[in-house]
Amino acid sequence: MRLSRDLVASLLPIYPELEPEARAEVQQSVQEFMAAELTLAPWHLRSGLFVLGLACALHCRLCLLGRPLGAVPPERRAAVLARWERLAGNLGRSFLRAVRGMVVLAFYDHPLVLARLGAPDPARRQAERRAYRGRRLQERHA
């Protein structure tokens, strides 16, 4: 679980820039999403992700001489993960791609990030579109 936390922190996009508290909140929600996804995934994919996650954790520990991924600066983390991608072959690359895909999806799905991008808040957009459709239906029936 620690690796999962450190991986999320390492893979979290840096654009758009967020206040530290907002970033921490987003990171927490991305982590929760990842944890939930892992419990929902089909058993064989979950097992595959688990085994590859362990291998990745081992790789990171070895590269960092025992220190956890989260304890080193971002550039160093990125370098260690890039090395994993180079060395781990297709499966290892697919693992990191899948994890990164989920992290990036959850990051840009978060209302704080969307606000920063200038995108509409999803809950507000839903409410606004429901009301709009209601008006359109009334016009039709009038």
Binding site: L11, P13, Y15, F33, A36, E37, L40, A41, P42, W43, H44, L45, A82, N90, R93, S94, R97, A98, R100, G101, V103, V104, L105, A106, F107, Y108, D109, H110, P111, V113, L114, L117, G118, A119, P120, P122, A123, R125, Q126, R129, R130, Y132, R133, R136, L137, R140
Partner: protein
Amino acid sequence: MSGTYRIAQPVDLSCDVLVVGSGAGGAAVAATLTRAGLDVLMVEEGPYVPAERAPAQLTTAFRRLWRGGGLTAALGAPPVAYAEGRCVGGTTEINSAIFQQTPPEVLQAWARQYGIADFGPEALRPYYARAAQAVHASPPSEPVGAATERLRAGGEALGWRVTALERGHRNCVGTNMCAHGCPTGGKQSMSATLIPAALAKGLRLIAECRVERLVFRRRRVATVLGSARDGHGMRHPVRIRPRQVFLCAGAIHTPALLRAHGWRRNIGTALRLHPTIKAAAIFPDTIDAHAFAVPQVAITEFMPDVRLGGSLFSPSTFGMFLAEDWGTRAALMPAWRNAGLYYAMVRGQGRGSVRPLPGRGTEPLVRYRLAPVDWQGLALGLERVGQALFAAGATRVVPSIGGHPGWNDPARCDEFSAGGLPVGRSNLMTIHLAGSAPPGEVEALCATDSFGRLRGLENLIVADASQIPEAPGVNPQATVMALAFRAAEAYLAQPERARRQRALAEIDRR
């Protein structure tokens, strides 16, 4: 919805007909049989999520409405990611509701090859009409937005046939949240159409109830065992004694369930799908693809083998696309308002399989292998998507290939297909599954008879996407519904049922 139940204790039920699964197939069956006055019970593994409670965020939708949290894939080289819904209404709750009929020549070819009786464009016409009416298949009622217009303009500039797509909707206002479970009720999914209609005619529906075991006696399904979740997440055993079972669990779970019980002949042996590869386009101006419905035209010039179209768009889906090669593509994220997501989809000639995972009950293991011609089609399709998007003014087109830098000018993509797609780096997906229990009288190829009756069992009929014999080359929901209406009617046409149906129709008329 009244008639929808949640189970709070172990139950023992009986019914005329049990429908397993509430998607396009199950809902069409339930609507037909309840109208005929039968006592129908439907069980659905996923929850009921009405439009007013549709999740605002895609991440929440993955958890609540998508099977496996959206993390499902057919294993192979490369793996093909696929998606299914798992909720009342099935995959129709997360799909884009594009309504298309399988081309007549494809239907005719299937009728011949599989020996399917009463099958073909003429025979299916009334069922397609019923499906179109049920979901109100119609053109857009609101402006379609620039992501659609660019695709249309690109195709037309190149002299290709571009077809406007009808969708199953009533006043869709383009929220672009089809994949969340439509929040406005505009999309005419099964939970908005046939399921309420069936409930009004007496359907009993148990949500969050998963069928796990079938018990056979004398060539019949005697008992169906499952478990249902109550409001607190506790599971309770459910035991159902049906006269007839309609298995409508979709193209993956229907064969998985049957094979787990020893029914194997031509079941789960020829899974078909539409291998699809995406491309992102960056335009010089804002197109705000997130603010409109999914692109509502397709380039159909190369159909039925290859179709080019557009996908749902949000910052998160765009980000996920870029994440395939984040190192080189992250810099495109700030251009999200100028971006659109498009795809090339082929009518796959490859085959896959569905097997229950050893030791995991009915949980499926899905495999798929593309045919060489699929690879050629995808490469050509991707090249043409690029050409169309450049013709529409795109300044950059990035295909879903790991390590690919993307094209900055049309000349770069013109020769692309000659080199073929790199198998190990191409990211493929599909949203259309079929063919895992094909119907027909050619016993060497088919799992069921022409109307979905499983060979060797007297009271089990398959009515879902597994009955579409092969990849249709078009969106399949209309065909799933048409075949399910047809299977339900064929069941009713059995002599004593027909008498009862006539009597009930008489009462209805009076």
